[in-house]
């Protein structure tokens, strides 16, 4: 078994996947606590569907570009594919950011209630995304493409070096922002009205939370695919909240849980050739139930 692992880890792709996977897991767990407590759990879900739609649109754009520009030889095809893979993130990111800001704003104006707005945007972009992929995709295996975008089956193992760097930098930015604004995020999460009354621009920090959430989602799409992102965001937070009693302890614990689960899930998926995303989420679920049991015992004692 260890031999098998060592063999896998001799490939740089696998090592990259491990590094990026752990970074993504770390930053997705940080904001989870805030999102759960602010009753925003589903914003992650909605945004990830938007990201799926954006990814489909990106594919379509690159496909049309390709058919307009190039011939049919295999090398040209491979090159364009590599290019549009890195490009797709460039398109997905701004679209998801805009959606995040819009969702947050509708939450405040409440002409359409928050959850309805999320449901609308998320299913809408899911439908359009699937339609676009079906109509314009160049690849023969549409179902496979869609499946890999939705469940991220192997995408973490197919990242290019450029994407690895992009993911690492974004993840570090998320972590830095979180650490720098930790106190503000706490205050805004715990009591928005008080924070606003104290003269802090709570709206700006809400916006910051939305932007960071969007960043996390675009990142996490690579790891677990767009349907499972919410799990990556909320499970570690919920597990930690079961047992720990101060905000800082909850954050640290949820980061640890997330990283451990992602690592274990990645290794398990290599060993048993299961899909990466669902293995990680399963690990998260197992830990959640373990924490539930632990918290029961702690309360009795």
């Amino acid at each position: 078994m260890l031999d098998k692992l060592a063999y896998y880890f001799s490939f740089p792709l696998v090592r990259h996947a491990m590094i990026v996977g752990l970074l993504i897991a770390l930053c997705s767990s940080l904001l989870g606590v805030s999102l759960v407590l602010k009753r925003f759990s589903f914003i992650g879900d909605g945004l990830s569907h938007v990201a799926f739609g954006a990814m489909s649109a990106a594919t379509v754009v690159s496909v049309t570009l390709k058919s307009a520009a190039s011939g049919n030889n295999a090398v040209a095809k491979w090159i364009t594919e590599v290019i549009d893979k890195t490009n797709s993130m460039v398109i997905i990111l701004p679209v998801t950011l805009i959606a995040a800001i819009l969702l947050l704003r509708t939450g405040q104006n409440t002409k359409i209630k928050g959850d309805a707005a999320i449901a609308m945007i998320s299913v809408g972009s899911l439908a359009i995304g699937y339609m676009l992929v079906n109509m314009f995709s160049a690849s023969a295996n549409v179902a496979g493409d869609v499946c890999s975008t939705l469940f991220g089956s192997t995408s973490i193992l197919t990242l290019t070096v450029g994407e690895v760097w992009l993911c690492a930098v974004l993840a570090l930015i998320v972590i830095a922002v979180f650490v720098l604004f930790y106190n503000k995020i706490f205050a805004v999460t715990f009591d928005e009205n008080f924070t606003r009354a104290a003269g802090v621009r709570a709206g700006a920090y809400n916006l910051l939370i939305a932007i960071v959430t969007a960043l996390i989602i675009v990142l996490a799409m690579n790891l677990v695919g767009s349907l499972l992102i919410s799990a990556l965001i909320i499970f570690p937070a919920l597990s930690a909240m079961r047992v720990f009693k101060s905000f800082r302890a909850v954050i640290i614990c949820s980061a640890a849980v997330s990283v451990v689960c992602a690592g274990a899930g990645l290794i398990a998926s290599l060993l048993f050739s299961t899909p990466v995303g669902s293995t990680i989420v399963t690990a998260d679920m197992i830990v959640f139930f373990m924490f539930c049991i632990v918290s029961k015992f702690l309360r009795r004692a």
Partner: protein, 290 residues
């Protein structure tokens, strides 16, 4: 005595709809102002305006001294989010310094010391490491009060602070607020609980979108409005209020509005009992689990 807050003929509202108008009062440091009024009378709009969260439609709110520099320490009503929030008391009290810390990512030594000092002042020092959601309602209010003091030490705005507390905790909280007031903190308390009037020095009564009374508490208790309000409130909620004897003989000039008020008071009473019961249930469950 110096003036801290002055409302000059202020009108309030949203998007052109006036909620309350003709608000005109002055608050000096060391005052204890109690704002009374039924639901929908514009109390919560006034709170938002005093905190500077919404602009006034006309008139002017003048702030001076600390109220101008660091704003008003605010004790909001509890939100659903806070009931199961995993945070220690220390973390919450420190978050009161959030505006002082500006763009600095962490709290300074002075801010931490201020938080400790305010916890000591409100007698919650030994709770510092405890989890907020496991505290009783009265303890939670103390925590939020300490946080408000960290934000602004000389002027506090309390929004229905005793809602959902049992009578003993209510009395304790009122005593605590009164002792803060005695130590020089200006208090603005919004309430429809008659117990709030006891410690107040000034009363502002708003109703049906305008100011019905502003002045010293003694004058309010003697006024017709004050007496009728105190009677309906205290008979309906079954509390002893310090009202003058002759109050009983005051003729009720508008029986309809009197009945309406009584009904409203009864509704509020029922609601308070309901919330009280719910919270007690919640707390009991917590104790069982602990």
């Amino acid at each position: 005595m110096s003036q801290q807050l002055r409302c000059k003929n202020v009108s309030l509202g949203y998007e052109g709809d006036t909620v309350a108008e003709g608000l005109d009062f002055t608050l000096e440091s060391g005052d204890y102002l109690c704002i009374l009024g039924e639901n929908g009378s514009g109390k919560s709009t006034l709170i938002k305006a005093l905190l500077g969260l919404i602009p006034v439609m006309s008139g002017e709110i003048e702030r001076s001294g600390e109220a101008k520099q660091s704003g008003i320490g605010y004790l909001p009503q509890q939100t659903v989010v806070q009931r199961d929030f995993p945070a220690s008391v220390r973390e919450i009290v420190r978050s009161g310094c959030i505006a002082k810390s500006g763009f600095r990512p962490f709290y300074s030594k002075e801010e931490k010391a201020l938080a400790d000092e305010n916890m000591e002042r409100l007698g919650i020092k030994e709770l510092a490491g405890r989890c907020y959601r496991e505290l009783s309602g009265g303890q939670q209010q103390r925590v939020l009060l300490a946080r408000a003091l960290c934000a602004a030490g000389s002027i506090l705005l309390l929004d229905e602070p005793v809602t959902g507390l049992d009578p003993k905790a209510q009395a304790e909280l009122y005593e605590l607020i009164a002792s803060l007031n005695n130590s020089g903190v200006t208090i603005i308390m919004v309430s429809h609980d008659i117990g709030a009037v006891r410690f107040a020095s000034h009363i502002l009564h708003i109703g049906s979108g305008r100011q019905l009374f502003f002045g010293k508490k003694e004058d309010y208790v003697r006024s017709r409005l004050g007496r009728s309000y105190i009677i309906t409130e205290s008979t309906e909620s079954g509390e002893d209020a310090d009202i003058p004897e002759e109050a009983e003989t005051v003729p009720d000039e508008k029986p309809v509005s009197g009945r309406l008020k009584a009904a409203a008071a009864a509704g509020a009473g029922a609601l308070a009992i309901g919330t009280g019961a719910a919270i007690r249930h919640y707390v009991k469950r917590g104790e069982r689990n602990a």
